[in-house]
Symmetry: C2
Subunit: 211 residues, 2 copies
């Protein structure tokens, strides 16, 4: 079966808990998954570390990476660049790790276009009411903030259909296992096992000839 | 998530052990799966029971079923008809069971055409050498029999690419779990959860309006 890693894009509603889900998945299966770390030109926030949350690089460095095609995808938000360095991803895939990119839909679709075998996963709370509850938070947000979060959730929802699988984050532990199960299953997809099929066909022809 | 059952077609090399795999899967997860029983006009062999191996019916009855569109697919081999009765399958799918059809590639492709959501699984031994070993059996077969089995295996191999997933039957227990995992994963496919996505989109729009 397919030994090469699968490139996995995880997106989801803000408030879907996908960050926590990824952390748990990686700590439970450290030999299976690798998390891709994005590069950005924005400044680190308090508590953020270079090489952990992001690779914090200069605009000049970022533009050189673009020019050299060293990014799988990138986007510019407001004044800052964000992108996925290609080298780390390809290295981990070759090692047989399933590499997770936690990016938004525009990036997800770009990655899928460049790498059609990419697996697109979308994390969602069990219902809109539950999502709103998480967006409203502890009641300390203004109506404007809540409204803008709901606007954003509506936009995010429009993209769901483009994803291969939905993961409903109700219970975290169940959710981790479901995601792991989906990825394990994907390794059996026939299009991911063309070398295996080719070999068995050739060997059968050879054995027939020998008989 | 998707509560409706999935229609699963299982094919595979003769000698892949798919019959044993299905039996084990059904006995381990009797509430999850249902095995579709084919109808045939051939006579029962020793030990075969009506309603267990097949529904043994007359040619006249079979042709009436064809005329009334009561078969999902059917084929004629030599002088006999073989087909999949529609009623049982649809009833079990509605009950939320994943219904397994153990049929050959021509039937599999017909089913997929009629029901595009059908999941196609192909069971294979780990290698051509292992397959030959199983086809040769205990050394009591003539060279002609072995040759015709290898011919058939080569034909079967040509169809592998049309299947969604490959299941390598090396160890039976592992194989049962892999198949179960693949099917569980498939329930999360976004195209199988259109109602869920539609509802969350509508509810979010409504919540946004209320805010």
């Amino acid at each position: 079966m397919n030994k090469k890693g699968i490139l996995i894009v995880v997106s989801g509603f803000s408030g879907s808990g996908k960050g926590t889900l990824m952390k748990k998945l990686l700590s439970r299966y450290p030999d299976t998954y690798a998390l891709s770390i994005s590069a950005t030109t924005r400044s680190p926030r308090e508590g953020e570390e270079h090489g952990r949350e992001y690779f914090f690089i200069s605009k000049d460095e970022f533009e050189k990476m673009i020019a050299k095609d060293e990014l799988i995808e990138y986007a510019r938000y407001v004044e800052n660049y964000y992108g996925t360095p290609r080298k780390y991803v390809e290295q981990k895939l070759d090692e047989g790790k399933d590499v997770i990119l936690e990016i938004e839909i525009q990036g997800a679709l770009k990655v899928k276009k460049a790498f059609p075998d990419t697996l697109l996963l979308f994390v969602t709370p069990p219902s809109a009411t539950e999502l709103k509850k998480r967006l409203v938070g502890r009641g300390t947000e203004t109506m404007d903030v809540i409204k803008s979060r709901l606007d954003r959730a509506c936009e995010e929802a429009e993209g769901m259909d483009s994803y291969d699988y939905l993961i409903v984050n109700d219970d975290l532990d169940t959710c981790v296992e479901e995601m792991h199960e989906i990825v394990r299953g994907e390794h059996h997809r026939s299009f991911r096992n063309e070398a295996f099929m080719k070999k068995i066909k050739e060997d059968l022809e050879r054995l027939k000839g020998e008989n």
